[in-house]
């Protein structure tokens, strides 16, 4: 049973077909990368998995549960977390609060219990904070813990978004261009983190990435897309030497 399965997914905006009958499956525990030129439909596929876009055709399965018509907030409940290409953090809250929002799907208290702040809420709060501190330690965010996101540099925000996604304790993590806007050193850290996310937390990673060195260093399998079609699917080495991929995207 694959973790995530796309079954002939299509998406069209009016007359433009952004994704055209794409099928693939992400296996448990692998790092799966989508590559392709701008407009190939990578982020569209992400947005369909997180249910912001409704596929015009085809079906989506997560752990053999059909998610094609689920509302977005239930996707997180199932255990799919994501980051965004252009960072979507809660800008006026501290790093700690941002990560605590990430614990939302694990909340055990009801709203009226929160209003009264019953002892139960406090206990749940301890548990959430414990888990958040683990993520903070894992990603080295200690010194930013109490700072407001709006005052942080871009690279740190990128890590915060990853941290927030990890706080949801997902089974599948969708990373939309994890290295965009990062310098060489930060990208290097990202490579280690992505590998560790799999090996330490056992999380499956599906990502979109342009930086081919990063792709080659972390991916188990690579899917190349162009104009909403699948060009090639295989190990990084196979895809990098595929003629169609070289012609459409990589160049010589």
């Amino acid at each position: 049973m694959s973790l995530l399965r796309l079954d002939a997914i299509s998406l069209s905006f009016g007359g433009l077909t952004a994704v055209d009958g794409v099928s693939f499956a992400v296996e448990r525990g692998e790092i799966f990368t989508m590559i392709g030129p701008n407009g190939a439909g990578k982020t569209s596929i992400f947005n369909m998995i997180s249910r912001f876009y409704q596929p015009s055709e085809g079906r989506l399965f997560f752990e053999d549960i059909e998610i094609t018509s689920m509302p977005p907030h239930q996707i997180a409940e199932l255990g799919i977390a994501r980051t965004f290409q252009n960072i979507e953090l809660f800008d006026n809250a501290t790093v700690l609060d941002n990560l605590l929002v990430g614990r939302h799907r694990h909340r055990t208290t009801r709203i009226f219990e929160d209003i009264l702040f019953l002892p139960k809420v406090r206990r749940a709060e301890y548990a959430d904070r414990y888990r958040v501190e683990e993520v903070i330690e894992f990603l080295d965010l200690q010194k930013y813990r109490d700072l407001v996101i709006a005052n942080l540099p871009y690279g740190v925000r990128k890590v915060c978004e990853l941290a927030r996604a990890l706080c949801t304790e997902p089974k599948l993590l969708l990373l939309d261009e994890p290295s965009s806007g990062l310098n060489v050193e930060e990208t290097d850290d990202m490579v280690y983190w992505i590998n560790d996310i799999r090996s330490e937390f056992g999380i499956t990673v599906l990502m979109v990435e342009h930086d081919m060195t990063l792709v080659n260093r972390v991916s188990d399998r690579v899917l190349a897309l162009n104009y909403g079609h699948v060009l090639a699917l295989g190990t990084p080495h196979e895809v990098a030497h595929d003629r169609a991929v070289i012609a459409a995207y990589l160049g010589t």
């Binding site: 907030h73 609060d97 301890y126």
Partner: protein
Amino acid sequence: MRPIFQTDYDQDIRLMRHRGYWWSYGTLLLLVLLAPFVVGSYLQSQIVFVFIYSIVGVGLLILAGFTGQTSLGHAAFLAIGAYTAGYMQRLGVPFLVYLPLSVILSGAVGALVGFPALRLSGIYLVIATIAFGFIIEEVAARWESVTNGNDGMRVKPIEFFGVTLGREGYGFYYLCLGLLMLVLLLALNILRSPTGRAFVAIRDSEIAARSIGVNLAVYKVVAFSISAAMTGLAGCLYAHKLSFISPEMFTLLLSLEFVIVILIGGIGSLHGAVLGSIFVVMVDPFLGYLKDDVPRTIGKLAQAFGAANAGAIQDTLSAIGGAAGLKGAIYGVIIILFIIFEPYGLYGRWLKIRLYFELFPLYKKATFRRQKTYLKSERNR
């Protein structure tokens, strides 16, 4: 500066972060407890209005400040609370029953308003809430069997276990203070819990909130409902404070006043609700001062210096001070100045002043300057 070492999670959770809080809030509480014995009856009455406005302010802050859903219809929730109190009292229902009833009823109507609001945002939501305000105003004017229509409705003083709490008495003052403290406590509880964080998440990025599992529909409706319930509570007190209610009291202008409360007080923190209320309630006495005392003083001065037209000067000045649109104009100017120079309101100003003294010779203006960022992506709205 007080270095704070983090040794356990409670340090972030508890309300009184350190001993300084106990000192400052203790002193403040002592002052408000003693105030009625020191200040005159006029000022005492103004302070009661500050309490009532603060309750509305806290309610509106939860909705507009923390969930990011602006409402220009809060006078309507106040009206629902006030009329529930008035009508129930007429039916002979005791205070301890109709107080919670006005809270529940306003909360329920708030939830109903929240549903259509799910599909609206920004300016469209503002327009929808204005429309809601007009509807309630119209209902209050037409539903004569309940509201007495435009003749208005008398509200008798509160009967509380055989004790009558007159609207000018100490009892009513402490009741309002107690309820304000309760509302503040509940609001703080919300803000330090997952619910409050979900609200803030919705305010800052709806798309990210959804991707993390926040059910927008539920939380927006809950925010509307909580906010309306608090306003309904204030409405019940408002009716008793004024002892007479009629539809033309709950107009758009009153809703606007509530928005001014949080805009001027500061939308980032609950302190803003109280500071803004002090400002809005004190504008009236200030205008009175502008109308009477200032022209009189200047007139006397002019006379002392032997100006021939001293009387004319005094008349002109009091005409300006008593001009019909002056209150609106002053509000307008002050709001514009706040938005340009102090978006975080009076509370933001207070934070800056405090930091200035904490860091005394080292304070830099740039500490609070927000960096310009160009990262916000286009939203999938």
